[in-house]
Symmetry: none
Subunit: 191 residues, 4 copies
């Protein structure tokens, strides 16, 4: 038997690709990725059918990582607000710790080659988050709003928060807390 495909090599490629794409855009050459990964140009094509597949795989991988991270250490007890804040906190912290992955994600999101199937498949990973949001709605949030919308606003607000934390890291806690407050008030206050 020959050498088996190395899961590690695949991960290295994905990880390096995120960095390179973050810095130079998705138009960065595949050669620049393999070179940064210390591999031969052809090796990338052993693990991914082509550049498109690499990018789609990278999207899936980042999204999965993010989903897992957001729900990590999720408290069984506590109010809905506390639970949501926990997710929010994980999300924002992940963004601060993984600026390259975040940047790569943003570029892939507006990329024409992202396959609908991949986009949708990753959405499934966020289902627990959906039930959380539904709970929030049932427990007094602005009930007219569909939970998908609330989820999208949650995400948008979190991303905005990350931006500002990146710009002013010393105010990290301030933005994290107040950003969430703004979101929570937005969906609960009766106006």
């Amino acid at each position: 038997m020959s050498r088996p495909k190395s899961e590690e090599k695949r991960n290295t490629l994905l990880s390096v690709a995120a960095q390179v794409f973050a810095k130079n855009g998705l138009s960065a050459s595949t050669a620049s990725i393999t070179s940064a990964a210390g591999m031969a140009e052809g090796t990338l094509f052993v693990y991914f059918k082509g550049k498109d597949e690499l990018i789609n795989a990278l999207y899936a991988e980042i999204k999965n990582d993010l989903a897992e991270t957001m729900l990590f250490g999720h408290p069984q007890n506590g109010s809905v607000q506390e639970k949501l804040y926990h997710v929010w906190s994980n999300y924002v912290d992940w963004g601060a710790k993984n600026p390259d992955r975040l940047a790569a994600l943003h570029k892939i999101k507006v990329w024409e080659g992202l396959k609908a199937e991949v986009r949708e498949a990753t959405a499934e990973r966020f289902c627990e988050l959906q039930s959380l949001t539904e709970s929030a709605i049932a427990n007094g949030a602005v009930s007219e709003l569909p939970y998908e919308f609330i989820l999208a606003v949650f995400s948008a607000q979190a991303e905005t928060t990350m931006q500002f934390i990146k710009r002013e890291p010393h105010k990290s806690d301030f933005y994290k807390e107040n950003g969430f407050k703004m979101f929570w008030n937005g969906i609960t206050a009766k106006g």
Copy 2:
């Protein structure tokens, strides 16, 4: 000078570029743009030094258009909330009417070649919006949040709203109103 450069041609190029970039990404060829514009390949370079300059110019043009549109018909009287809603409404309507320009904008925003100067220059066009936000803060919004943050959330929330209107156009009014409510509650409610 023989023939003067035609302002119309320049505008056509920008407008067609927005459509092409929206559909095919910024990696669309300059030839595909001139061809769609009914011009010769070389003509693009008469009006723009290169592709980078075209994209930067397009960003500036769209942002200016957006700024102008958002403040159009701005009421002199009325509450801060009413004024902000007016802006919000213009914003969201613009997005619905200009999906290509909006999509192009999103791609340029995450593009590596966007010049800092251009990014900043366009921010100036939004100064009136800044004073509006400052007024809102002075009039009771969560005072701890810097107005740039509030502005960013305003924008993020508006964009999220546009997404859902695009997906469900028949609920256009619903999303526009409730999206704004969420934003307004977020910055005013005391949590």
Copy 3:
């Protein structure tokens, strides 16, 4: 107006391609052709959509040239045998004078990328030759054989003759005459 496409450049490319393909096979790189033609790599793609189209065009061009050459100076009067010998002679002479084109032709004939349409289109150029053959048949040749078959044998025999002339140029006339005699006897003698 810009520079018009140069018919001469196109011809140069075809001509050089024949030489290069003859020597190095159809797998010769497009760069080796443009370089031998003294042009930039990209120029080939101005005149031909791709390598496949170049090869198909080369096939058509050689076949047309050959058809024209074979029928050149065709005698209005004379016996069928004399007329056919005239064609035979032109054919064999062409092969001797154009070894590269002949070699290229042979390679393209067994190439998978040759389009059926091109293969058939060039057949039309040989229609006058077909009527000649039909005359020969009507005038006493082995009548059972379809003229396409006779034509094919004519060609095969001529090509065999060319091979031997190439190998032994000093016996050029000998092969040309006896090769034809063999063909003519083959189709006329009653066995």
Copy 4:
């Protein structure tokens, strides 16, 4: 030595290579051959030093097979014409039964990488055919023609015949007989 090289594997490779080359040309990848043969990519290089050697070996193998087939069941008695017809018949039948090998052969014949030694070595296998032809000459064929030329015409005509049989299989006998008649008349008739 641990395991001996398997003669069967070598034959499988040659046989599959003929099919693949016939269909996709000599530019078909070695991987496509091993894959079609149900072997690993590297195995091909255990049996052949490289792709070139494989193709040269395939040429030799097909030529040997062909030579053997042509002379199979060769009648000891009978006229020269009958003997030659026997060979002709075997040749044409082989072509009809082995279209892939025939097609592969044609491609290799015009290939630049075919080694002169291999080309010549296989010629030796046809020596009995040569004496046959010499007999024919001695017995009344057009004596001026060298037997190599007659042999070449024999082959060319047989191949032309195969083409037409492939196109019109129901006229198989017709072409086989009349094709030979044409050849025989060609070399015997006094014109």
